[in-house]
């Protein structure tokens, strides 16, 4: 390293509170105007907190205590001691602590203690990724080496050499693996793991919050199988989970483990003095709601800190963004002492050796700045830095705290700066810091009894051990399920048990990570035919249809043929100035309403049963009712609509009969989607430059949905044209979707939004045309609305619209019921999002661009939310 660098890294380096605070002051002072237009929206100060130490537990195995002492640990943080005590009592635990609070000792301590006491005892650690396993292994090995021969730790995953596996199975008493390996490699071969299962005392699940939605639902089933196998060998393992801060850690753990769980969320670790700054890039085009590039602003922030010699980590949300920022920052430091080598990138795709080197240099303080993806967010030890700059909201509050936790010195002050992008979630968070800093609103949900997931794991379970009559596996009726698997040829029922009777290895057919194992292979025919990659089934239909422009690694490919039956797409390299956006047609049929309630302030006290009754009656009453009414463009504007008080609005609604009130519902729906065409959209200008028709097979799925019914009478009473009303409904759908993703912490791909007609007949059939715009990024969403097919095909009139948010996974992954419970929050947040957005008439940050939702979409969406009494308008 050059001499100058050394100088910058040590002597000349203003360290600590003053310079961090100076930098923050500089950012704040340069920040323009009112919050919604941009600038710093919050500076949150977390004062340093002293550690809460307690004495080493008296019943800790002396050898373990000695090793801890040798490593300079003479007392424990209070939560570590508490975890030890509870684990020794035999409780299942979920430990919730922030980053760098000595979390791993919470589970390592009781486990090492029991492994040292009992040489036969075994423990199994589950980490969501291989990199984390590797990191843990290094740490544990150091510990184990000092304990002598008693603790033999091994990782067992896809990379474990074949010849090492046998000895791991026999000798390892602390086995580190991941759920995928447990599912496909360990459980189906449990007889080879006899020693482990006979003596399995502890199972550790780290990063529990990571297991939500589909992955979590799979994990719950893998654990059902694990417990079944352990029972066969006579063991009943105890579970210790660790989770980042979410709203319902104990609840999530209880649903995944299906056991009683004790929550431990008091944190005795010290905290350093820290600032959290929220920054919204200023609006440069108020009409379109366009803000300054968040990447450029992140670069500016990083430069402000780096220039003061503060060690800074910049988190970007994609590999591409990472590379862009590295390039920018290296450019900034080209002439600085130390040069561009002071800043490096870190992401998946770098060679392991290079990554290890960067990690080491970070720990040793030999790097000033690093730009990373979420690859550095979890567990990996890089020491602590002065500042974290988050280029874009990481998607969840939990993950934001984890990234921010990378900055934090024992001594001195650190800071984390969140630079918001223009995505709706980013905008909501940056404009509502109180939401972020308050009690975590994020919930992790799983649905282990999703029929498709459950059936797949039931097959695996039967492969592992015959399923006995009277056994329990989930909450659904096991006999019915086994009968089904018998009829479909997988099981054979005899003498009170179901046996696996198929040649296949069922675990191979189930991938825990992807929604479906039914992938399309992309074949590039540009030169010698080669496989370019794979795309999962749902995305394939919208991105790999014939004539689509498929984009991978920035390269464009023209899809020449889609072989639907063989699941192959043949593509050819092109250089195109447009991209394509599939138009899909979605039809939603409500099969059963599980719960329903009027969305009206006055009737909130009504019991669910009553409101349900009313809804049913209402349906009957209205059969053959005013469905044939043709909507007119009502021009009778009510002048004081905007200013009407809540009570006045309520009075107005009171006069409407109960079934004509707006209602929120959740239940079972049937979704038919078909890709019917596509549009060609020019890069940069987003002009619609052509279109085409497609006939792809219709996709059907049963799933669950949350929906909002807006009564015809209510909409008609609003002073807008019917086109405006439709636009408003669609605009509201977009905003609700963004807020739902926030509340249930799911991936945007897991949740679909659709608007359809509410028929008061049962079942109700709704039709709509929607643009599936989730091709890749926010960018495509921005462009999606142009030439909205509903407009192209003439106005569709909704007699009474339903806005659906449905689980995009057959059978549902358990998002609808929680959404129903959180309806108030959902609608209230949507109102805040739209109300506080600085744009004039809609932008990608709130309800979608004007091109998609029309001139008045935003206004109508707000009016609807007002009329149904959603939350309080934003301040």
């Amino acid at each position: 390293m050059a001499l100058e660098t050394q100088a910058l890294l040590t002597a000349d380096r203003p360290r600590g509170r003053e310079s961090v605070e100076q930098a923050i002051a500089e950012i704040r002072d340069k920040s323009p105007g009112p919050a919604r237009l941009g600038g710093v929206t919050a500076i949150h100060h977390i004062p340093a907190r002293a550690a809460e130490f307690v004495r080493m537990p008296g019943d800790l195995e002396p050898r373990v205590a000695r090793v801890l002492k040798g490593r300079g640990i003479r007392q424990l943080y209070s939560h570590q001691a508490e975890a030890f005590r509870l684990a020794r009592e035999g409780r299942n635990l979920v430990v919730v602590t922030p980053t760098a609070s000595g979390k791993t000792l919470c589970y390592n301590l009781p486990i090492l203690d029991s492994l040292v006491r009992n040489p036969d005892a075994r423990a199994l650690y589950l980490f969501p990724t291989k990199a984390l396993s590797q990191d843990q292994l290094t740490e544990l090995n150091r510990f184990a080496a000092e304990l002598g021969d008693d603790v033999r730790t091994f990782t067992y995953d896809g990379d474990t050499p074949q010849d090492a596996r046998k000895s791991i199975r026999a000798r390892g008493n602390l086995v580190i693996t991941n759920p995928d390996m447990l599912h496909a490699g360990i459980l189906p071969h449990h007889t080879k793991w006899e020693r482990l299962f006979e003596n399995l005392q502890y199972v550790v699940i780290d990063e529990l919050h990571y297991y939500r939605g589909v992955l979590g639902s799979h994990l719950a089933n893998v654990l059902r199988r694990l417990k079944r196998v352990a029972r066969f060998y006579g063991s009943h393992p105890q579970f210790i989970c660790a989770s980042a801060t979410i709203a319902n850690p104990a609840d999530l753990a209880a649903h995944i483990l299906e056991e009683d769980v004790t929550l431990l969320d008091r944190n005795g670790a010290p905290a350093s003095d820290k600032y959290l700054v929220f920054y919204n890039p200023p609006v440069v085009n108020p009409q379109l709601g366009i803000r300054r590039s968040y990447l450029n602003e992140s670069r500016r922030m990083a430069r402000t800190f780096l220039g003061r010699g503060l060690e800074t980590i910049v988190f970007a949300n994609s590999r591409l963004a990472t590379e862009i920022l590295v390039t920018y920052l290296k450019e900034d430091f080209r002439r600085a002492p130390g040069g561009p080598d002071l800043v490096r990138g870190y992401r998946g795709g770098y060679l392991p050796l290079e990554r290890r080197e960067i990690e080491r240099h970070l720990r040793e303080g030999r790097l000033l700045g690093v730009v990373a993806t979420n690859a550095l967010e979890l567990g990996i030890d890089i020491g602590s830095l002065d500042v974290a700059v988050l280029a874009g909201y990481p998607g969840t509050i939990a993950s934001t705290w984890q990234r921010a936790g990378r900055a934090g010195r024992r001594q001195g002050t650190s800071a984390a700066v969140l630079v918001a992008s223009s995505a709706p979630l980013d905008q909501f968070i940056v404009q509502h810091p109180e939401y972020f800093f308050g009690r975590s609103p994020e919930h992790g949900f799983v649905n282990p009894d999703n029929l498709e997931i459950l059936l797949n794991h039931l097959k695996c379970a039967a492969f592992e051990l015959p399923i006995e009559e009277g056994e329990r596996f989930g909450t659904l009726d096991l006999e019915t399920l086994c009968r089904h698997l018998t009829e479909t040829g997988f099981l054979h029922h005899t003498s009170g048990a179901w046996h696996w009777v198929s040649e296949s290895y069922p675990a191979d057919a189930v991938s825990l990570r992807s929604v479906s194992s039914d992938n399309f292979v992309i074949v590039d025919n540009t030169g010698e035919p080669r496989v370019l990659g794979e795309v999962d089934f749902p995305s394939a239909l919208t991105t790999l249809h014939e004539k689509a422009i498929y984009i991978q690694n920035g390269e464009q490919y023209h899809v020449e043929r889609l072989d639907y039956d063989d699941r192959k797409a043949y593509v050819h390299r092109v250089d195109s100035d447009y991209y394509t956006d599939a138009i899909s047609y979605t039809k939603i049929t409500v099969l059963e309403t599980f719960e329903s309630r009027s969305q009206k302030t006055e009737v909130r006290s009504q019991s669910t049963v009553e409101s349900r009754q009313l809804t049913v009656d209402g349906r009957q009453a209205s059969v053959g009712g005013p469905q044939s009414m043709v909507e007119e463009d009502g021009e009778f504007r009510v002048p004081d609509f905007e200013f009407r008080s809540t009570e006045a609005a309520a009075d107005c609604q009171q006069s409407i009969t109960d079934d004509r009130q707006p209602s929120v519902n959740h239940g079972e729906v049937h979704v038919n989607t078909q890709v019917v065409g596509f549009k060609k959209i020019k890069f940069h200008t987003h002009e619609n430059v052509g279109a085409g028709n497609l006939t792809l097979p219709e996709q059907e799925m049963h799933t669950t949905a949350w929906w909002l019914t807006l009564p015809h009478e209510m909409l008609e009473a609003m002073p807008y044209s019917s086109t405006d009303r439709q636009d408003g409904v669609r605009a509201l759908g977009n905003a609700l979707e963004a807020m739902a993703i926030l509340l249930v912490m799911c991936d945007a791909r897991d949740l679909g939004v659709a608007v359809g007609e509410n028929s008061r007949d049962q079942p109700s059939v709704s039709r709509q045309l929607s643009v599936d715009s989730r091709q890749s990024t926010v960018d495509s969403r921005q462009s999606a609305g142009r030439g909205q097919p509903a407009r192209d095909n003439g106005p569709m009139t909704f007699f009474e619209p339903n806005i659906y948010l449905y689980d995009k996974y057959p059978g549902g992954i358990g998002l609808s019921a929680p959404l129903y419970r959180m309806s108030e929050q959902l609608l209230g947040n949507a109102r805040k999002l739209i109300g506080n957005c600085g744009c004039e008439a809609g932008c990608p940050s709130c309800v979608g661009p004007v091109g998609e939702i029309g001139e008045n979409g935003k206004e109508v969406a707000l009016a609807i939310l007002g009329a149904i009494g959603a939350g309080a308008p934003g301040e």
Partner: protein, 475 residues
């Protein structure tokens, strides 16, 4: 109970049934969607296994099971052999395969038990996937009893009989010291061990000497035969023709159909297939032993210069050259250099394909070199250098070493070295050893450079030796 409570209960009850109906409806929908499902065979009148296979229901402490028993008298012909050959043949020649790698989990004791103490085993399973969900539904074993070869086949009429079958099998195996299988080390034995563990019984294999015939068979016949599958060996080596056999891939399906329908008709060929596999396994074992025994006797005779075909009693024609070469490699691996050399010489004499001849010569020379017979080795190396084959450079190098260090003839060594260097320089286009053209570039860069350096190094040293010390350097 008041009305409200009653109503609530009523609602609860109806909800449950509606949930059940809903589950049924979804399952029905899944059934329709998953069209890959094989249609179930029509329910037929159950026709038990007893009606199709000769055997009886037995019982032990764990329940009933079905066992088929077939007795093959020694006199019965089996291809080119007779069943009785199994009992009289001296299997000790096979001990050559019981060195380290063939004796998984065994320490010491590399003596193969007497033929009467061996049991031959083969299973028919519900699949090849392995893991806990694959089951051996038919376990066939064969052994000598008096003057018969008896095949017993334990059959699961249904899954619950597995415990009794495994116990019966373990009881039977207890009377034998050695186990012979075909691919049993990888497949049958681990699978059965899993079944024993699942049935909470102790696997009986630990104390047995296990000879897996797949590996010896491959070593001996791989060069000549396109496949070393058991049925192929049976036809090629034993001259047995099967008829009415069933394709192995269909077997799991046949058993599943039986489980569902109760009709055992389809299983008859499966029993036949399994029984034949066991008899073939036994016959192949004795044939393999006979070949090795015969050839090793002949090998020693050749070495001693007392060829007497009548004495070793050759049954019919002599062995094909390819097999002889394979056999010489078997002797070589077992450390029997004298036999390896004689058998290899015979392989060469009986004529080998051009592609193999240099390799055989090379191995022959190596045996001589290791036995200290350097002059014989050198002759062969010279023979190799007459043609520019894969072993050309290696032979020249050996010759150079031989000349320099043993014959102390630096000038001759220099000659060989210069010839090698000349060849490397001239023949840049010679393909690498594996013959693939694509590897040539890589080879020419790495391998050739390494060889070049080796020879150059040798050249420098030899030049220093041969040149008078005062001469100026030639290069």
């Amino acid at each position: 109970m008041n009305l409200e409570e009653k109503l609530r209960q009523l609602r609860k009850a109806s909800e449950k049934s509606s949930a059940d109906r809903e589950l049924e409806r979804q399952l029905e929908w899944l059934r329709q969607r998953d069209q890959s499902v094989r249609p179930l065979p029509a329910q037929r009148v159950p026709c038990g296994i007893e009606q199709y296979v000769d055997g009886s229901v037995q019982a032990n402490r764990l329940g009933e099971y079905f066992v088929a028993r077939q007795v093959l008298p020694f006199g019965r012909p089996y291809g080119r052999l007779r069943v009785g050959d199994v009992s009289v043949s001296d299997l000790s020649a096979l001990e050559i395969f019981l060195g380290g790698q063939f004796l998984a989990g065994q320490r010491g004791g590399d003596a193969l038990p007497d033929p009467s103490e061996l049991i031959y085993l083969d299973t028919e399973t519900t699949g090849l996937a392995g893991g806990t969900g694959t089951c051996a539904f038919l376990i066939g074993v064969g052994a000598i009893e008096g003057s018969d070869f008896v095949v017993r086949q334990f059959f699961l009429r249904d899954y619950p009989e597995e415990r009794a079958v495994l116990a019966a099998l373990a009881d039977l195996l207890a009377g034998y010291k050695g186990l012979v299988t075909f691919n049993g080390k990888t497949f049958d034995v681990p699978l059965l061990e899993t079944r024993f563990r699942l049935a909470r019984q102790r696997p009986p294999f630990g104390r047995m000497i296990h000879l897996d015939l797949l590996h010896p068979a491959r070593q001996l016949w791989k060069l000549r035969l396109e496949s070393c599958r058991l049925t192929h060996l049976e036809a090629e080596i034993l001259g047995v023709g099967r008829s009415g056999d069933v394709d192995g891939a269909d077997i799991p399906g046949i058993y599943f159909d039986y489980l569902r329908s109760g009709d055992a008709r389809g299983l008859q060929p499966v029993f036949y297939h399994n029984a034949l596999d066991i008899v073939t396994l036994a016959a192949l074992t004795s044939e393999l032993a006979r070949i090795i025994r015969t050839e090793s006797a002949r090998g020693v005779d050749v070495a001693q210069g007392e060829i007497d075909a009548a004495k070793v009693g050759t049954p019919g024609e002599s062995m094909p050259g390819l097999d002889l070469f394979s056999l010489s490699r078997i002797f070589e691996r077992a450390g029997d250099r004298a036999r390896a050399a004689t058998v290899c010489r015979r392989a060469l004499d009986s004529g080998l394909p051009d592609s193999l001849e240099p390799r055989a010569l090379w191995h022959l020379a190596t045996q001589h070199r290791r036995s200290g017979e350097f002059e014989q080795a050198a002759e062969i190396w010279l023979e190799i250098t007459r043609r520019e084959t894969d072993y050309f450079l290696d032979a020249l190098e050996q010759l150079a070493i031989h000349a320099e260090h043993r014959q102390r003839d630096a000038a001759a060594a220099l000659q060989f070295t210069e010839r090698a260097l000349g060849w490397i320089g001239a023949k840049a286009g010679v393909p690498p050893r594996d013959g693939s053209a694509t590897d040539w570039q890589a080879w020419s860069k790495l391998e050739r450079r390494r060889e070049l350096e080796r020879f150059r190094h040798r050249l420098d040293r030899l030049k220093r030796k041969t040149s008078p010390p005062i001469s100026p350097p030639l290069l």
